[in-house]
């Protein structure tokens, strides 16, 4: 298989397979998790403004009082690479074009120089959080193969995309094919690894907010 054939495959069958596994995986995993249900709370509730599942979904996006100081790398690095990823994935013109071709949905993108900068900042932030994971005793203690693996499959699409745009390391066609392949690997593993928090964190925050909101505690 030469580079053109590879590019054709990753853009065609490869993408179809990856997107299918991703979609079916997400639906299956969501069903597997939320179909477990839970018991109804029979205690009398206490109503307090701001104490609900919906409030917690939003509130928990902000660091609780004093926590940034305790773990600045987690928060600053975490915000930076999450926002950076969102910019790179959803506001880069070629990505929007691809999404339009697949779904018909479209929105304005950002200038490519800005997205380029966002990619560099994202990668730098990811390297910093990786170093923090290696360096901090608690993070190192909690880390498993899954943590290193998911970091890698998240980092590679950004790196290869940036290299492709910059025409670095490999010929453009080859790098583009490698980039798309990396994205496909990410899509395939996402529902089955800790990357699935991208979906479940909303449910988790809602449950936490609802259970505590029932007691009149805004968490």
């Amino acid at each position: 298989m030469n580079e053109i054939q590879l590019l054709t495959w990753v853009r065609g069958s490869g993408l179809d397979i990856a997107v299918s596994i991703f979609l079916m995986g997400v639906i299956w995993r969501l069903f597997e998790i939320y179909s477990l249900g839970r018991k109804k709370d029979l205690s009398a509730s206490r109503c307090v403004a701001g104490a609900s599942g919906w409030h917690t979904i939003f509130r928990r996006s902000l660091p609780p009082q004093g926590m940034v100081k305790k773990s600045p790398v987690s928060y600053i690095g975490g915000y930076t690479f999450h926002i950076g990823l969102a910019i790179v994935v959803f506001l880069f013109a070629p990505h929007i074009l691809l999404i339009r071709n697949l779904t018909g949905l479209s929105w304005p993108g950002l200038p490519s120089q800005f997205v380029d900068l966002a990619a560099v900042v994202t990668m730098a932030a990811m390297v910093v959080v990786l170093a923090d994971r290696i360096n901090k005793p608690v993070k190192r203690y909690l880390s498993t193969f899954g943590d290193w693996f998911t970091w890698t499959v998240t980092f590679l699409p950004v790196l290869t995309g940036w290299l492709a745009v910059r025409h670095l390391l490999l010929p453009y066609t080859t790098m583009l094919a490698v980039h798309i392949l990396c994205v496909e690997v990410l899509l395939v593993v996402l529902p089955f690894t800790k990357l699935f928090h991208a979906f479940t964190l909303f449910g988790s925050r809602w449950f936490n907010g609802q259970v505590n909101g029932h007691k009149g505690v805004a968490v």
């Binding site: 987690s74 190192r140 505690v217």
Partner: protein, 425 residues
């Protein structure tokens, strides 16, 4: 697999629900929960990271409730949960977790970690891996009626002493009273002034109240150990007593977990809503204050601070009333850093204070409370939980800090205006 482990696994499979599944799938191993746990912050040992305390339950969840996990189990790629492992986890699930819930309010993905620890304890208890100290407390509560072995005659003796000291009646089994007052063993044995304070306050407010001969003990070691069957037996006594006496409100004493057991878990344990209300004594005092039924005279002039019991404040939603009450009787009331919603645990909640072998760790964790106190240097420390009070006193003594600890109810009662205490209960 031993029979007890099999039972534990079965119980764990029963308690794993959608929230737990969602929480396990959301964890990104960021470790921020460690920064919220005083057992980690004061020891620096990463094994005390809250989410790590749930690792056996997480594996069981994965192996039993996920497709990939079941496949891995089928081909022998997963490590089963063993008795030895659960034995090792006892220290993490009981000694070093007071169910304070700080981890649950900092987790960025929103995991309610303490919700999971509470459920994990069900499996630990069923598999025989609960600490002996709490097992003893549960057995005494179920067989004798209280974790400290206190029986009705002891309560009646205290009632007589208090009646003599305060010159006020202590009603027992008074049908149709508005309030049924619950006690904790600690109050019966160590802090009888609580009962006197109640008599004085109720007398001033002109409210009818009663103790119940079949349900005077509010604490629920069954909940702490994680055995819902036994917790149900203990709560049922209170429900039966309250319904027999047809009271409107049951007052949980100055005890944090008794409040959680009765107010939030009680109805779920018996499987139906209560026919009466449950309030913590601080909520009742707050209501009396708002309604003008609580009138005080004079002020404490020394420097006072307030320790929020976790189950009352962060886990129970009662945060402001205690502050308004403090200001009613204290000229120099100062707040410790992190007071209120984010207050640090005394280190002995959730049954931890009953675990003898956990004492060294508990005292190590107390350094957090010490630093909170050092920041404001109070003359006295006020709280609203008899268990916190004992744990605080032990910690203060260990670190040679001369700070007396008092209960808020009795502090308020000391200021109840005598000349208007004549309305009669």
């Amino acid at each position: 697999m031993s029979a007890s482990l099999e039972k534990g696994v079965r119980v764990l499979k029963e308690v794993i629900d959608a929230p737990i599944a969602s929480y396990f799938n959301s964890c990104v191993h960021c470790g921020l929960c460690a920064e919220a746990c005083l057992f980690y912050t004061e020891t620096g040992d990463p094994k005390y990271t809250p989410i790590h305390k749930l690792e056996p339950m997480r594996r069981l969840y994965e192996q039993e409730f996920t497709l990939l996990g079941r496949l891995k189990k089928m081909v022998g790629l997963s490590r089963p949960v063993t008795d030895a492992e659960l034995g090792e986890w006892q220290e993490l699930v009981y000694n070093s977790c007071t169910l304070c819930g700080r981890c649950s309010v900092v987790c960025p993905v929103g995991n309610d970690i303490v919700y999971m620890v509470r459920k994990f304890r069900e499996g630990m208890s069923a598999s025989g891996h609960a600490p002996e100290g709490i097992k003893g407390a549960v057995n005494r509560t179920v067989s004798i009626g209280s974790p400290m072995g206190v029986k009705l005659p002891a309560v009646q003796a205290q009632m007589r002493h208090v009646e003599a000291d305060y010159g006020l009646p202590i009603p027992l089994d008074a049908e149709g009273a508005e309030y049924m007052v619950m006690l904790s063993s600690m109050e019966i044995i160590n802090f009888p002034e609580y009962l006197g304070a109640i008599a004085k306050i109720m007398n001033q407010a002109g409210k009818t109240w009663t103790l119940c001969s079949t349900a005077f003990e509010a604490t629920n070691a069954g909940m702490q150990i994680g055995n819902s069957d036994l917790a149900r037996v203990i709560v049922s006594r209170i429900v039966e007593g309250a319904e027999r006496l047809k009271v409107k409100t049951v007052i949980s004493p100055e005890c944090g977990h008794a409040y959680t057991a009765l107010r939030w878990e009680g109805a779920n344990l018996i499987g139906r809503p209560f026919t009466f209300q449950v309030k913590h004594i601080i909520e009742v005092l707050g209501e009396f204050q708002e309604q003008g039924l609580l009138k005080t005279e004079g002020f404490e002039t020394d420097r006072l601070t307030f320790h929020d019991p976790c189950q009352l404040a962060r886990r129970g939603g009662v945060i402001e009333p205690q502050r308004k009450l403090m200001k009613m009787v204290a000229k120099d009331f100062v707040e410790m850093p992190d007071a209120g919603f984010m207050n640090w645990c005394c280190g002995g909640g959730g049954g931890a204070s009953a675990i003898e072998e956990g004492e060294e760790l508990r005292l190590e964790a107390f350094k957090m409370k010490k630093s909170q106190l050092d920041a404001v240097k109070p003359d006295r420390l006020v709280t609203a939980c008899a268990n916190c009070r004992i744990v605080l006193e032990e910690g203060l003594e260990h670190y040679q800090m001369d700070i007396p600890v008092v209960g808020l109810t009795e502090l308020i009662a000391e200021h109840v205006a005598e000349h208007i205490s004549e309305k009669g209960a």
